[in-house]
Amino acid sequence: MLLAAPRFALPETVGEALSALAERPDAVVVAGGTEVMPDLLWRVRTAAGFVSLRRVGALRGTSRDGDELVVGAGTPVAALVDAEAGALAAAARSLGTPLVRTEATIGGNVVSALPYRNMLPALLALDARLELTSDTGRRTVAFDGFTTAPGVTRLGEGELLTAVRLPTRPCFSDYVKIGRRNAQYVATVSAAVVSRNGAVRLAFGNAGPVPLRSDAVDVVATALLDGRAGPDDLRAAVADAVDPPEDTVASAAYRRHALGVLATRLVVRAQVDAGLGS
C-alpha cells in the first residue's frame, strides 16, 4: 500500500485494493478521477472516501489470452486510440480530450454505466466480456446485460472490475456518435458496428437506459449488408427497437431518427469494407 488513511487508500495490487475496499465499504473506487472529481465539485455525488486504483500496475495495459484481447480495467483510454478493433479505437479517440484520455480508464467508463458513455456501444458490438474480481475469486460475465439501469451495474459489493476481454477474431468494426457541436461533446446518440463473416451486429448508446442491441435489428442490418433490404428497412427496425431518453439535449423522436441514420451509415461502411458497396 503506497498510502493509507481513514478515508483514502492508494493500493499497488488488486489484493490490496480489495482489502482497502473491505475496510472502507462506503468509499468510492476511483480510477482516473475524470468523472468522480467533477461530480464532487458539482455536488451531484457524495463520497465517504476514495480507494484509488491509479497505482495498481496489474490493472494497466493490454495482453493476449488465446483469441481474446485482455484490456486491464485501469488502462487509460489514450492507450486504445490505435487499437486494432476499429470500433474501440474510434470510441477512444472521440472521448474527452487528449489530456482527459491519459487519465480516463476503460474500466471507469464501464462501471460509470451512463448510457452516453463512449466506450459502451463499442464493447457491446464487439461482444466484450468482463472480468470481475473479489475476495472469493474471479468471475467472467458478458458485458451484454451488465448494466441494469443508468449508472447501475451487476458489480457486486466488494467486487472490482479488473479487465475487459474482447474477441480478436477478424472483423470490420466502427463507432460513430453525434452531439450538439463538433468538439468535446457528449454523445446525443452513438452506435457501433461489427461485421464478421457476412453477419452484422449493431449496438447503440443513449438509445435506452442501458447499452442496447437487438437481434431483430441485426437481422435487417445483415440483410442490408448483402442487398436483401434497404436503408428504410433498417431505419424502421431501429426505430422499433430503441427506447431513447427525452431530455433538454434532444427529443426521443430525434434520437430515434438519428439512431437509424447512424445504423445505416455504419452498415454502409461495413459494405464498403467488404467490397460490397461503393
Binding site: A5, A47, F50, S52, P98, L99, T102, E103
Partner: protein, 175 residues
Amino acid sequence: MSSEADESVTFSLTVDGAAHEVTAPWSESLLTVLRERLGVRGPKTGCAHGRCGACAVRVAFEPDRADDDGHVLCSCLLPAATAAGCSVRTIASIGGPDGELSDVQEAFLAEGAVQCGICTAGFVTAATELLDTDPDPTREQIEAALYGNLCRCTGYGRIVAAVETAARTRREATP
C-alpha cells in the same frame, strides 16, 4: 462526525524539482494542492472539470524509472493524493532556471500567440510534450494535441503557428 484527521491525508510530492510534504483533504485535486497549499501558481483554474486545459501539468507517476518522462494531464481531475511520491512539472519547469524562455515559449511570443495569458501555461505544456515526442508534427497533429486546451482570446491560428515555429526552430537546432 468524523475528526479532522480522518478527513485528511499526508503524502510527499515533488513539484518542479522541490520536495514537499502535503497534508490535504482526501478528495482535494492536484490543482488545488499546487495553487492553494504550495503556492505554485503556474497551472491556472479555468473550468475545473477537464475541458479547458489551463491547469495542465506533466506528471511522472514512476519518477524513478528512466523511461517515465511523465505525461500531461488536467491537474483539476487528479485527486492529489493519488500522485503520492510522484514528480510534477509545471510551466515553471519549462525553460531555463534563471527564467530563460524555452523554444516553445519564445515561439508563442514571436507569433503573438498570447493575449490574456490564462490558457498559455497549459498550451505551452501540451505543445512541449507534443514536440518532445514528435519533433515534426503536421498541422493536424498539432491541432489534435491541443484539442484539450481552450483559448478564448486569440483564436487558435497564432497558437498553431507558434507550435509550427517552435518545431522548425527545434529541428534546425538539432542537426
